[in-house]
């Protein structure tokens, strides 16, 4: 046991029009063949997911499925997995997350990024790595921690994104959705309108794919979805309203040192 700084290793993956960062932590050196291979596999997972699910590539399996050129059984098996996950997310969210309500046929894009990050994370479970985070532009899948302590993750303040609204003790994953400004890309599945009810919606839980879908649902559905997540085992949520007012589920893991605004709960 020493007080040495933990060993770290970082990797950037440019995929799906965004930047994914991989941060690894260990008690010993991480420049090993096992870790090299794990990172390579994590990258491959992302690129495979992009090829399969990109709605920008005309010949991607998801697009061919949407056009009815292939049946589900002819698509890579991940497509069925993802659609199953979407179905569950739709049910859990009470329909507020609904890839089937998108224009142009089923569009699992809102699920795929979290799903791919979760898959990439699995590739990083190799000897020597005691903590890992896959951060897909603000949606994070993780296991372990740093130096035996859970990761701490800041949640961006929607009205001032260079500042943080709070810090969360991370166990598993966290996803944040919201339209901070104009140009809403979130859609109310019931009306088809591009709207949101809160400025920022964060969801934590074991599976980033579901957390991501629920965060999208929460941003659009607001309190109704927050109540649903409250009843859901292992998942917690925080909303920040357009007026700055916050709501959260009872188990949301605020980290202690950032409760200055009186948003204290557990931890």
């Amino acid at each position: 046991m020493t007080t040495n700084a933990p060993h770290t290793r970082h990797q950037r993956i440019e995929v799906m029009g965004t930047v994914v960062t991989v941060d690894l932590y260990g008690d010993g050196p991480l420049q090993t063949p096992e870790v090299d291979a794990a990172i390579t596999e994590a990258e491959a997972v992302w690129h495979r997911a992009d090829r399969t699910f990109s709605t920008w590539r005309a010949d991607s399996p998801i697009n061919r499925l949407r056009r009815g050129e292939i049946a589900l059984g002819e698509a890579p098996s991940e497509v069925a997995d993802v659609l199953d996950g979407c179905r569950l997310a739709k049910e859990v969210s009470g329909g507020w997350f609904d890839p089937w309500a998108m224009p142009g046929g089923v569009d699992p894009t809102g699920y795929v990024k979290g799903w791919a990050a979760a898959c990439a994370l699995e590739a990083l479970r190799v000897p020597g790595v005691t903590g890992a985070m896959v951060n897909a532009a603000g949606d994070i899948a993780s296991f372990g921690g740093v130096g035996g302590v859970a990761f701490r993750v800041g949640v961006v303040r929607p009205d001032a994104p260079e500042a943080l609204a709070c810090v969360v003790t991370l166990r598993g994953s966290i996803a944040t959705s919201g339209d901070y400004l104009r140009g809403s890309h979130l859609r109310n599945p019931f009306t088809g309108e591009a709207t949101t009810r809160v400025a920022s919606a964060s969801v934590t839980g074991p599976d980033l794919a579901l957390a991501d879908a629920l965060a999208t649902a929460l941003a659009v559905g607001g309190d109704e979805v927050l109540a649903r997540i409250e009843r859901l085992e292992d998942y917690e949520a925080l909303t920040i309203g357009l007026d700055g007012v916050r709501g959260w589920t009872t188990g949301f893991a605020f980290a202690e040192t950032h409760n200055r605004t009186g948003t204290r709960t557990t931890q």
Partner: protein, 189 residues
């Protein structure tokens, strides 16, 4: 002087009795949901209810660690302002506070370049130097949401004791590209 972007809007003390969610005692378990649509009344692990209400985080200026503190009139050299994806980066000033603007790169909605300010080996600010988007409303979005993600990422190690940042964003590879250019110019990477 440490410049943490961890500025919480703690000024507003007016505790509005707000939406603290009081739980119902029953939890939905996913595995059960997966099988049937049944809900299982398990756990209810007596999560302690938050005592205080939430505070609205209005106003409260946040310190944006941008531009050079030493008023040394660091001219952001033009050259990069033109929408030319040149690979050259421009280093301005030498001594304590320095800044560099990365190449203008294409991103999803247009073109942008990133400016980095550093003091010694510390990054003190990351801003967008140029942004052209043809009037696309996402530009504001990108400016306000995506950039800070990278800024946080680049600065977190030396400021707040956090390992990551979660936020809605449209981070584009373009940012990374231009940022890299600026960092290289400052010999920070």
């Amino acid at each position: 002087m440490k410049r943490t972007p961890l500025v919480l809007a703690s000024t507003v003390a007016g505790l509005t009795g707000v939406a603290v969610f009081h739980s119902t005692p029953q939890k939905v378990v996913l595995s059960a949901l997966n099988a049937t649509a049944a809900t299982t009344p398990t756990t209810a692990s007596a999560a302690p209810t938050p005592s205080a209400g939430a505070t609205p985080t209005t106003s409260a200026t946040t310190v944006t660690p941008t531009t050079t503190p030493t008023a040394a009139a660091t001219p952001t050299t033009s050259a990069t302002a033109a929408a030319v994806p040149s690979t050259t980066s421009t280093v301005v000033a030498a001594s304590a506070s320095r800044s560099a603007t990365g190449p203008v790169v294409n991103y999803y909605y247009g073109q942008l370049s990133v400016k980095v300010t550093a003091s010694g080996t510390k990054i003190t600010g990351i801003t967008i130097a140029t942004l052209s988007d043809g009037g696309n409303p996402y530009s504001a979005y990108v400016d306000h949401a995506s950039l800070p993600m990278l800024q946080r990422e680049a600065m977190s190690a030396q400021s707040a004791n956090i390992q990551g940042v979660s936020g809605a964003s449209y981070t584009s590879a373009g940012f990374a590209q231009s940022l890299q250019g600026a960092l290289s110019a400052l010999k920070l990477k």
